[in-house]
């Protein structure tokens, strides 16, 4: 077998159509569903700023008799503040 025949022989064998698998569209759809979720940096920053605002506002709420929560009863608001923060983060991630 000379070199030219050798090349033709290999070309013919290797370029033969292979059996088909899933369609191109099905393959692509499956792949796109496996991509990691988008990072959405702008919305995350928005969520973070909102969280800070809510936290600060909660601490500055008047607690009666003209005093601020911040100065008198900060510990009592700690739990609702944390829950509120968690809820905001959950909503931001869930709805975007």
């Amino acid at each position: 077998m000379n070199v030219r025949d050798d090349e033709a022989w290999l070309d013919t064998l290797l370029q033969r159509q292979l059996p088909t698998g899933p369609t191109d569209d099905a393959f692509r759809e499956q792949l796109l569903q496996r991509l990691p979720p988008p990072e959405r940096p702008v919305r995350r920053v928005f969520g973070l700023v909102l969280t800070w605002l809510v936290g600060v506002l909660s601490l500055l709420l008047p607690a009666g008799e003209g005093t601020l929560v911040f100065s008198s009863d900060t510990g009592g608001l700690l739990v609702p503040c944390c829950l509120g923060t968690a809820l905001i983060w959950y909503l931001v991630d869930r709805l975007t």
């Binding site: 290797l14 292979l18 393959f27 692509r28 792949l31």
Partner: protein, 182 residues
């Protein structure tokens, strides 16, 4: 007469993915290159469709995650082939204890093609499966995917001389294997 808008180049699609995380653009890149990548992996896996598509999915996922590492020096398809070969080599290393099993002939496929062509293809895949992974990759890249020796050497990250040696050895082994078939 208004001309149709030109299809964006690979570079433009890549920029869209990087700048805006545009998944439609990435889907377009997949649509353009999936046939070649899946074909390459089918030949590397000896015709195992399920494994080849599994590796092809892994290839594109790695490409998506590492797209910032694509410098644009080589063709995008070559960069994908490189990832595909690395995915295949690492899978192959993981299953080295298991001897390569040539795929069984399926009755459904046999009906679609002439019997001698199916047998020939089966013999070829069996013979390819017996080559060393790098020899198989060198042969498939240069013949089936029609890369030049230089391009294939870049894909396999080896000198051109080494690549040519892989191809020559693979051809010789393949010829001997196929000549042994009665």
């Amino acid at each position: 007469m208004a001309s149709l808008p030109e299809a964006p180049t690979d570079a433009e699609l890549i920029t869209r993915v990087l700048m805006r995380d545009d998944r439609r653009a990435f889907g377009e890149l997949v649509a353009r290159h999936q046939s070649a990548v899946r074909g390459l992996l089918r030949r590397l896996t000896g015709g195992d469709l399920a494994q080849a598509d599994d590796l092809a999915q892994e290839t594109f996922l790695r490409a998506y995650r590492g797209l910032r590492g694509y410098r644009g020096g080589a063709k995008f398809s070559s960069w994908l082939y490189r990832i595909a070969c690395n995915v295949f080599f690492s899978r192959d290393r993981g299953s080295r204890d298991v001897p390569p099993e040539p795929p069984l002939l399926e009755a459904g496929n046999a009906e679609l093609a002439l019997p001698d062509l199916v047998l020939e293809r089966h013999d070829l895949e069996k013979a390819l499966a017996l080559l060393k992974p790098r020899e198989r990759a060198a042969l498939v890249l240069t013949y089936a995917n029609e890369l030049t020796h230089e391009e294939a050497a870049v894909v396999l990250d080896c000198p051109v001389g080494t690549l040519k040696t892989h191809v020559a050895r693979a051809k010789e082994k393949l010829r001997r294997q196929l000549e042994e078939v009665p």
